[in-house]
């Protein structure tokens, strides 16, 4: 039986049984934190606290859904890092491969738990029999989260095998697999011509409406990849820098979990 996280316990304490119940401002208020919105020149969001009261300021000019994640992130700091002075750089935030500072990852994890609690997210994701960015976007809409936050949440709470890969013009930027995705199946560092990622990155094609079946070797260099297929769905995910920061996110699930049999055999399972 999974133990509920601190964020989830807090939400249950306030009777949150549906995504629309997650009133972040009101929840912050119950923690002694007031939320303000204004343009900020030096950061995207900040928190100042004294004793058991705090003021969280959010720059919502980057979009409502991103602002919700920023607010949840600051709530995470308030719940986890009270009486500490921290500063989160862009490198810390984007360091999803483990480069980010421990406390920033902790605040991000708290934010994901608070905005998209697994006890609500997982039952809704099970309603989608063919996972792709269509289902990730539907979940993002339900929880008023960004596509990227929803996609990361999907692989984090997925109890089967799925992976999210982010590509930039120079190749793979980061990736995250679900808990059961074997480490031995790490994605290629470079764009493979069969992946279609380059065409998307440079605007030579548009994203598919749904996932498609492609050879696993388009994304994975493992010796047995040629024998298997994966369902892949790639979308353009421009970061806030605009055209020059173009990214492609690819969501992958294996056609069959037999794809990983060789790993388990080599591990002696």
């Amino acid at each position: 039986m999974r133990r509920l996280s601190h964020a989830e316990q807090y939400l249950i304490g306030y009777g949150v049984t549906k995504p629309r119940h997650i009133d972040l401002e009101a929840l912050a208020w119950t923690m002694g934190a007031k939320v303000k919105y204004k343009r900020l020149s030096s950061c995207e969001a900040k928190i100042t606290g004294l004793g058991d009261r705090a003021i969280i300021t959010i720059d919502d000019s980057f979009g409502e859904r991103r602002a919700r994640f920023s607010l949840s992130h600051e709530i995470g700091h308030w719940q986890r890092h009270r009486n500490q002075i921290l500063s989160c750089s862009k490198q810390d935030i984007g360091g999803v491969n483990g480069k980010g500072a421990h406390k920033e990852r902790e605040a991000d994890r708290y934010a994901a738990d608070f905005m998209m609690p697994a006890y609500l997210y997982r039952p809704l994701m099970r309603e989608f029999k063919r996972p792709s960015f269509k289902s990730i976007d539907a979940l993002a809409q339900e929880f008023q989260a960004s596509r990227k936050a929803s996609a990361l949440r999907y692989v984090d709470v997925d109890r089967s095998e799925s992976m999210l890969i982010c590509f930039g013009p120079n190749g793979r930027k980061w990736y995250r697999g679900s808990k059961d995705w074997p480490d031995e199946w790490a994605p290629k560092r470079d764009h493979d011509p069969d992946s279609g990622v380059m065409e998307l990155l440079f605007g030579k094609t548009t994203p598919g409406a749904d996932r498609s079946l492609v050879p696993a070797s388009a994304f994975f260099g493992r010796y047995s990849a040629e024998n298997h297929n994966v369902y892949a769905h790639s979308v353009i995910s421009r970061s806030r820098g605009g055209q020059t920061d173009a990214e492609v996110m690819t969501f992958i699930v294996p056609q069959s979990s037999a794809m990983f049999d060789d790993v388990y055999t080599s591990r002696g399972w």
Partner: protein
Amino acid sequence: MTKKSKRDELFDLADNVVDTILNMSDEELDAELEREGIAPEDAVKAFDSLVDSARMKAGQKSLLRARVEVDADKRSARSGRPRSAAEALALVERAAKELPQMTQAARNAKSGAMSDSDVFDLLEDLEELGFSFDRDVET
């Protein structure tokens, strides 16, 4: 902001029950249910019922009350005493010295010195949080 109430007492009771159940392994839970002569399906329903019952309703009501307080707070305008940028910076630096246990974090922060608007923002936040700048400051 929200004060402790009978709701908290109810939460303590419900939390103890929920924590006890969540901390048990599946085997321990099955054994406990068998001892009590309760079918696992009935226990699941009872647990759901517990979670859905008074605790949930009290929590939802409390959250709605918090929303009303948030909206009321937004309507109450605040304005601090006008200060020069130099005076504001001196006050913020003084606060940093006098408040070593202050909580501060900034997401996607740019490196470098604080801008004037950052300083005014911080001063406003600290005043709203109750820090007194009554003493004179040399600028």
